[in-house]
Amino acid sequence: MTYLDHAATTPMLPEAVAAMTEALAELGNASSLHSSGRRARRRVEEAREDIADLVGARPSEVIFTAGGTESDNLALKGIYWARAARGKKRIVVSAVEHHAVLDAVQWLGEQGADITVLPPDALGRITPQTLAEHLGDDVALISVMLANNEVGTINPLRELAVTSGDIPLHSDAVQALGTLDVNFADLGADALTLSAHKIGGPYGAGILLLGRDVPCVPLLHGGGQERDVRSGTLDVPSVIGMATALRIAVTERDRRVAELIRLRDRLIAGVRAVVPDAVLNGDPEARLANNAHFSFPGCEGDGLLMLLDAKGIECSTGSACTAGIAQPSHVLLAMGADPAMARGSLRFSLGHTTTDEDIDAVLAVIGPVVERARSAGLVGARRGEGR
């Protein structure tokens, strides 16, 4: 099997599995006052300090959550609620965000927030100029992802942070964490979403890096375990697994990224050689090291995906809704792509287990698969015209 969907999730690192397995057998609620509790608390705080160190944050800025979706929701709703109470009722959000951001913002809009959607350029990037044009005194917060989960385009977050000035800037850095240098202090964002399972850590674990001076109303009320912004008994094994995975991701990043770029560029060149009219979406330069996102003219993504799946190659059409329907990507549409082209798209995302054999496997079948999917697509198009 060739697994090229690491942006969806990537295999857990053996070191993270080992650390977590050990922690699962340990007793202790990190909020308890006795010695078992203190031992658990110590492990959590050591992990927190490790993580803070690895991402350029202070330990007090690390808030543990149940994943990227919760971190996004906490940042958007929490900061909005806190700022709306002071009359700031507009949210400025990029059009190409993950649904964990877009749907949370849409919901806030239904509750009375004003929404400004930032259009990306044709490469999927939000420029500081675009952001500047849409700011004002009434803005509660800004949300622009560090790197796009579908097309892999990296945003100029440092410049966007400068442009945003005193307005809180949230950034979803879930896809960026494994391959980019994610340094909270350097980037200048006020809130940053991270997820463990995209970097070889456990599912259901995430982080919101939240500046100490950023007001945020909690989503989950209860024991107030995390800075009174997030409640819930701390998941000690997941925190430990996440810290372990992050340490490896960061310390091995340079070596791994060089290898990912080599493999990815082989894949891109190889696909283009076999399918000359394939279009590489996103920024050809400022893109994630592990992302290759193509549109195949005349094809439908669901047909391509099924044919590749039958050949043991696992990839993604980019975005899937809850029913598992492949719909034209909102990211590509926002970038100005033709809906028919957007439907014929595939995302290959590489990871720490990807080898040259995986790339060989794709290149061996992509030609006939595209040809087959194209003939199926043409039949559909003919019928459509015939009506």
Binding site: D302, A310, G324, A326, G380, R383
Partner: protein, 363 residues
């Protein structure tokens, strides 16, 4: 063969897929997403293609050990089935959306895509028997008379039927449910679907009203020309309808009144007695012959004019592009837009000869 099993999330299509697997085919399950905004949960026996149905189909595919995908046909379904449904009602006809879905979606858009992707056939859980006789498709009624769906499959052409598989045709529904339970399929007890899948609350009038709006007109006594009342549009009526006409009783002679005709151009709903509904002649257009062989000359056969409707003997003849059907016994409530399906007049009377769309009726 490589078989694509269309899986609605119901018990029939799940067992059909299972039988295709047992028959040694290489089977892939596909759930068709037909609504751009599917509901989350299913409500009773109404509707289909909710997220819950999609999940039920996926779980059935898991049990069968076959790959499973959800394909989005919402746009095609809206254009070919839903919009057509609305247009037909607006034009004073009574469409059958299930028939249209088979013609345009399952055995057209889906089948074409499947063939294009390398499949040999599409399998569904329809209750009808399909075989090849002398190299031609032969479509017959189901072994389960109550469940028979040959009526809504009769307008498929030979090139469509050549790539269709109906694994449940020779089985009665009760046995299908037992088989589903034996196979460990969770959907064994799931209620049958009824009504129109894209009108989940079952209120067709409200659905059409929202799409078409108000096009007021008069209810007219066909015999006297007397105006019996006003209405909000011919789309709220079907030929043969008795209830909900909204006529003041004092204007009536005490006998039941029925809709006997719809004239969308003038907005007139013609009202008459049960006798006026009796039809002995039907003109039907766009005939389709599942076997590929049209009837030759005046042909003694049986005709059915509604899904699950009664069947009467008739003589049918192809005149130009139209089918002229003389009924041996009168039928009532024959609505333009419905299909007239002809069955061979042998003892079993279960072989489909052809299907055409009812354009006009006479007595």
């Amino acid at each position: 063969m490589r078989v694509l099993a269309a899986m609605s999330g119901g018990v029939d299509s799940a067992v059909a897929a299972a039988r295709a697997v047992d028959a040694g085919h290489e089977v892939v399950g596909v759930h068709l997403a037909l609504s751009a905004k599917p509901g989350t949960l299913r409500t009773g026996s109404r509707g289909c293609c909710t997220l819950e149905d999609s999940r039920d189909a996926r779980r059935a595919a898991d049990v069968l050990g076959i790959p499973f995908y959800v394909w989005d046909f919402a746009e095609q379904f809206k254009a070919a089935v839903v919009d057509n449904f609305v247009e037909e009602y607006a034009a004073g006809r009574t469409p059958n959306p299930c028939l249209r879905c088979n013609e345009e979606i399952k055995f057209a858009a889906l089948l074409d895509k499947a063939l294009g992707l390398g499949f040999d056939a599409v399998a569904t859980g329809h209750y009808a028997r399909l075989s090849t006789v002398d190299g031609r498709p032969e479509l017959r009624r189901s072994a389960d008379e109550d469940k028979d769906q040959s009526y809504v499959l009769a307008s498929l052409r030979p090139d469509q039927l050549a790539h269709a598989i109906f694994p449940l045709g020779d089985t009665v529904k009760d046995r299908v449910r037992l088989e589903a339970a034996d196979r460990g399929l969770q959907v064994a007890e799931k209620p049958d679907s009824h009504d129109i899948c894209f009108i989940p609350d079952g209120n067709t009038q409200a659905f059409l009203g929202a799409k078409i709006g108000v096009r007021p007109g008069a209810l007219v006594n066909d015999e006297t020309g007397e105006v019996l009342g006003e209405h909000r549009g011919v789309h709220e009526f079907t030929v043969g309808q008795r209830k909900g006409l909204g006529i003041d009783r004092s204007l009536l002679d005490g006998t039941p009144k029925y809709v006997i005709g719809l004239e969308p151009a003038t907005g007139t709903v013609r009202v008459g007695s049960a006798r006026d509904l009796q039809v002995t002649a039907i003109t039907a257009t766009d005939p389709v012959w599942p076997s590929g062989v049209p009837i030759d000359g005046p042909t003694e056969c049986h005709v059915q004019v509604r899904a699950h409707g009664s069947v009467v003997p008739c003589v049918a003849e192809l005149v130009g592009d139209s089918l002229e059907i003389s009924l041996r016994e009168p039928l009532s409530g024959v609505a333009p837009g419905q299909a007239a399906v002809l069955y061979r007049a042998d003892a079993a009377g279960d072989i489909v000869l052809g299907s055409a769309t009812i354009a006009a009726t006479g007595s």
